[in-house]
């Protein structure tokens, strides 16, 4: 069984000028250890597809169809609570443009620790230590500074 399998995923938006089909029947399959890149020009639907996989499209005018199987479990059918465990726990997404993709009133380290603590039982101190570890592993010079 593949790690992640997307079957016939389509996303459409109802707009004033009719229905716009942003993703039309995308299927892909990723095995454990695979590195897969999706390439396309701007506006071709790369982001929308992956947002749909994580069920992050909240627009009330969006219609998402198809199946997303994570280890055989259809993410389109699970509850919001279960989906929360998947997001940032099993599937992570790194958005472009860190200037706007991170909350401006917290430090980067705070936001990393927040995600760690959302998925594991960690004390504040341990989460902080793990954050420093992660930042140092990414060769951020002096990971401590970014806490």
């Amino acid at each position: 069984m593949p790690l992640l399998e997307v079957r016939d995923l389509s996303v459409s938006f109802r707009t004033e000028n009719g229905v716009v089909r942003a993703v039309d029947g995308l299927s892909l399959s990723i095995d454990e250890g695979d590195v897969v890149g999706i390439v396309g020009e701007s506006g071709s639907g790369k982001t929308v597809s992956m947002m749909a996989v994580m069920r992050l499209i909240r627009d009330p005018n969006a219609v998402v169809e198809g199946q997303v199987l994570l280890r055989g479990r259809d993410l389109m059918q699970v509850s919001q609570n279960e989906m929360r465990d998947v997001r940032g726990g099993e599937i992570a997404m790194i958005f472009q443009d860190p200037m706007t993709a991170l909350t401006p009133v917290y430090t980067v380290g705070w936001q990393i620790a927040e995600q760690l603590r959302a998925h594991e039982k960690l004390t504040r101190r341990k989460a902080r230590a793990r954050t420093v570890e992660l930042l140092s592993a990414l060769a951020v010079r002096d990971g401590r500074k970014w806490r």
Binding site: L56, R58, R87, T100, A101, L102, T103, Q115, H119
Partner: protein, 330 residues
């Protein structure tokens, strides 16, 4: 952090100095206006005018006048009102300040708490009847003028239902110092607080709701959701924190205006002798005719009807006697 405060403090001193110079110039250097006559009041005699000129150094250069004024305000603290029978200005303001501060601080706590609650509620339930209901309640609050609401509150708590168990605990209008009785202070201010905060609750709830709704479109809120945070955490820690920026700026402006006398109507309606009441009394001052009917709307209108300026209305006044209605007297 400490350096931030130090920097702010220094710039504050500059701002205060500039404001003092500007307001000084408005009063003392406006062309065509004799400041002595303004200070001495209406129809002052020559002796008073001379005393004012000497007292305020009006025959000396501007900077000296400014320095004299500052000395009267901060060092000797004996700035005297000629209009108001020689009342000392500084003690009056010092006496009024705690009343206004109590009123405004209490109201601010209420309006911040309630508007954040209502704004969050409306934003979380955006587009549902809950949202509409909260916003309508806010709009009603904005639409009620504070003097009317205050009078209605007084009518209910002081008169109509004062003898029922609901409002029998409400003390008569006026202010009880906190140092005298904390509970009495609270009881005497709770209705003024609520009345004053109603307007701001409405405004701030709407401001916050729109900021929260805008924040939903922000990339960092999407990131917060992608991290698998609970909806509550996304809302409170990420959307609310950043949405409060406009809220806080607005709060600074409104709070400052209220402390500076903006709560005038509330203070007058509830008989609180605060900074706003001083303003009110000053504005009401030039009426020379003071009798028991002063301030009574019916009395003023009655006299206006007798006024010489409306000859078609039959005069109840003796022939030739001066009219004392507001328009003629001033």
């Amino acid at each position: 952090m400490l350096r931030f405060f130090a920097r702010r403090l220094v710039s504050m001193v500059f701002v205060l100095f500039s404001i003092s110079v500007l307001s000084f110039l408005i009063f003392f250097a406006t062309p065509g206006v004799d400041p002595a006559a303004r200070i001495a009041g209406r129809n002052a005699d020559q002796a008073t005018l001379r005393a004012v000129r000497k007292d305020f150094g009006l025959d000396r250069p501007m900077p000296v006048q400014y320095a004299l004024m500052m000395k009267k305000l901060f060092i000797t603290r004996d700035l005297t009102s000629f209009v108001n029978r020689g009342a000392k200005v500084i003690p009056q303001v010092v006496e009024a300040a705690p009343v206004t501060l109590s009123l405004v601080l209490g109201a601010a706590v209420i309006w911040v708490v309630f508007s954040i609650g209502m704004g969050l509620l409306a934003a979380v339930f955006r587009g549902t009847p809950v949202d509409a209901a909260v916003m309508i309640v806010g709009l009603i609050g904005i639409s009620m003028p504070v003097f009317w609401l205050g009078e209605v509150v007084n009518l209910l708590t002081q008169s109509r239902f004062h003898d029922t168990f609901l409002f029998s605990w409400v003390p008569p209008l006026g202010y009880t110092p906190f140092t005298q009785s904390p509970f009495g202070w609270f009881k005497s201010l709770i209705f003024p607080w609520l009345t004053l905060s109603v307007l701001y609750i409405g405004i701030y709830a709407r401001v916050l709701r729109s900021a929260l709704v805008d924040a939903q479109e922000e990339d960092y809120v999407r990131t917060a959701r992608a991290k698998g945070l609970t909806e509550r955490r996304v809302m409170l820690r990420h959307a609310l924190r950043t949405s409060l920026i406009g809220f806080v700026s607005l709060f600074g402006l409104d709070f400052g205006a209220l402390v500076g006398g903006g709560a005038l109507l509330t203070e007058v309606v509830f008989g609180l002798h605060g900074v706003g009441k001083l303003t009110f009394e000053l504005a009401a001052e030039p009426r020379p005719a003071r009798d028991s009917r002063d301030g009574d709307v019916r009395g003023v209108l009655h006299r206006a009807r007798e006024c010489r300026r409306r000859p078609r209305v039959r005069s109840a006044r003796p022939e030739g006697a001066p009219c004392r209605c507001l328009r003629c007297a001033t």
